[in-house]
Symmetry: none
């Protein structure tokens, strides 16, 4: 059986892999806390350094800048999700149930994994929702892309697209639908939290989210 840890984050996002040292793990832990607390715009390496009781220079040994740090976290999430999807679907027969499982996973908060003490999954999920799009909504997107920094997202969409095509091989927009599903899951939760007029979900109502996305997906494919 596949384990929860069968994934690695693209190391192009970091100068040095943070999970390989105590300081690195503290950087991850505290950057998640801080990003969740103050948001990407207010987040600085200075503040992060202070909150981990270290220095900016030390953080620079791990990440070039805060954008790369965000990309690391976002890639971690994509990797975690892809892995989770594979683990939860590989034994399933029905393609439809597979896709349902994917949407279930996407529409739910990440589960806590007590064996990984340097990632707070709950907060990371909030960061993905509130800051995730900023990983690609930057002028440097093409450059980042050519460095392979979005492979995680692409991999994830590719898997979802394949599930879609397994159900309906003639559907023309499998990749678009896949990315729409992913983005919608995040957006609708954000709207439920902050702009309720833009959604029908109650705050953090993952169950309704799942209904909405599942229905939308199923209807669209057929």
């Amino acid at each position: 059986m596949l384990s929860n840890l069968t994934f690695v984050v693209s190391n192009k996002t970091c100068v040095k892999d943070p999970i390989k040292s105590e300081l690195g793990k503290r950087i991850l832990l505290e950057s998640i806390n801080l990003l969740d607390e103050i948001g990407l715009e207010h987040f600085t390496f200075r503040k992060l350094a202070k909150s981990i009781g270290s220095t900016e220079a030390s953080i620079y040994r791990y990440f070039e800048n805060k954008h790369k740090l965000l990309l690391y976290l976002v890639n971690w999430y994509w990797g975690w999700l892809e892995n989770k999807i594979l683990v939860e679907t590989h034994h399933l027969r029905s393609n439809y149930v597979k896709l349902e499982t994917v949407i279930e996973l996407l529409a739910s908060p990440i589960e806590q994994d007590p064996t990984i003490e340097y990632i707070n999954e709950e907060k990371l999920y909030q960061i993905i929702i509130a800051e995730g799009a900023k990983a690609y909504l930057v002028k440097e997107v093409d450059e980042d892309n050519s460095e392979g920094l979005f492979l995680g997202y692409k991999g994830l969409c590719s898997i979802i697209a394949n599930f879609i095509l397994a159900i309906n091989p003639k559907y023309k927009h499998s990749h678009s639908l896949a990315s729409t599903i992913v983005e919608t899951c995040h957006n609708q939760i954000f709207f439920s939290q902050h702009l309720p007029k833009l959604t029908d979900l109650k705050e953090d109502d993952h169950s309704t989210l799942k209904d909405f996305v599942l229905h939308l997906t199923a209807a669209t494919i057929h």
Copy 2:
């Protein structure tokens, strides 16, 4: 008949309405150029001041900060769109055709309006796509929301949701679907430009986008 100019941008976004003075219009014109060129993160009032041949202090007379300026532009777009939708749909009988018209408008670039010389619609559309989400993906979203800075987006979604409900009054997720349509139109174009693996559209292929979103919407409602 409704005119193209029957909308006003919420003046909470600005200290002083920029369209009421020459300098204000130059601020709008050049901020669109600059945002399109360098992106929100690299955009500063200093650079803007330089490119309009004025000073930062002068810009502060119009906008508190760059976030408010972005909100102004985004609201302008939402207002323009709402107005355009009303103009283009009020004479239509079929609710389905009305919704189709909305998606057509959302999936197309803004048309140039030669009578408004201080807005470059083409560039503004690019800004909406690349920076629009940053208008709400900020820690200050609740504060901004309570100041009414997202009324434009809400109004737009409300109209779309009403069209949806007119077709199928029993559909449970009209607002979620409305915001999903809007976001998807922007995201898919961005992906087509920068992350093609996440979409099936060719770069800026608005026609395919329309097909994708229209089919998704129609299937979902029924």
Copy 3:
């Protein structure tokens, strides 16, 4: 008659002309003090700001970086010298006496000009000797040159070269000799101060310097 002030420093070296404001003049005054005291390598805008009781940001309104500030000072010197040469030679008949006058000026410290209170000529002269060459001995020299930042030096050499050619129109290396004269005057004083084994001058012996350079020049031309 020509006045002492018939020269302007190329304004490409500064963002804003420092002699046009009180703060600007204080920047000049104190940068000369500080450069003389601690040398270019140890000189920073932070230290300069502290010594003028202002901030780095304020200094940046005048000079892009310390290299540009050095170029400003060096250009001031070149301009001063060119002007001085013109003033002191234009009434002379003998070409030989003209050249002699030039060398006399080059081999002597700048005179104090009590009307210019923001330049300490004595210290500036020391800076030229100890740091002047660093104005061009940089990787950015070609870029700086194409921006016209060395026009002062070129103008000075051109004048000297013309005096040389007036004496011996057939001399093939007038520009090389001109720049050699200038560089030698500075180098020999530096050596007399710090590396006496490399010169025959006693420390700051401008009289012997003049003899040396004058003889070298005269012998070479004929």
Copy 4:
């Protein structure tokens, strides 16, 4: 007969002689590459460490700082030149021809010596021209001098001065002329490469340089 290798670099410039280990030689090799490529101001031990695939700490075992490293290289050049001069002149009878030989050597690029694989003579020559003066144009010059870090230059000038005096024992400025010859050879090449208005040489025209300096020297002595 004197060999090409009868010289040692003053070991005061280094903590540990780099030619005595593989890493040391790599440090020399790559520091020459890097200095030539990016210049002294942009050169750091961090960059050097990266380009030799080692660490800053390792470089500190050889050199205290980049200034000492520059002094090492400059001394290597002075030592090489002194040695070369002795080798090429000791068999000559005519004092004039000896001086001519010296100028020929000074005015020519260093020859490649295939037996010394850790020094790229061609690049070192460029470094001498562009950075050499910075070895002494520093606030620490007196300190460095009292540690004997300029013995190489002094030795070189002493030899040249002796040749001058052998031709004309009554010439008063033999050391000044010697250092002027050395500096002029470097300056004129630099000017020919970057500030052509300050010289009559075509770029890297060592032949004309030789003519210029030889004539200047000969005329001055007599």
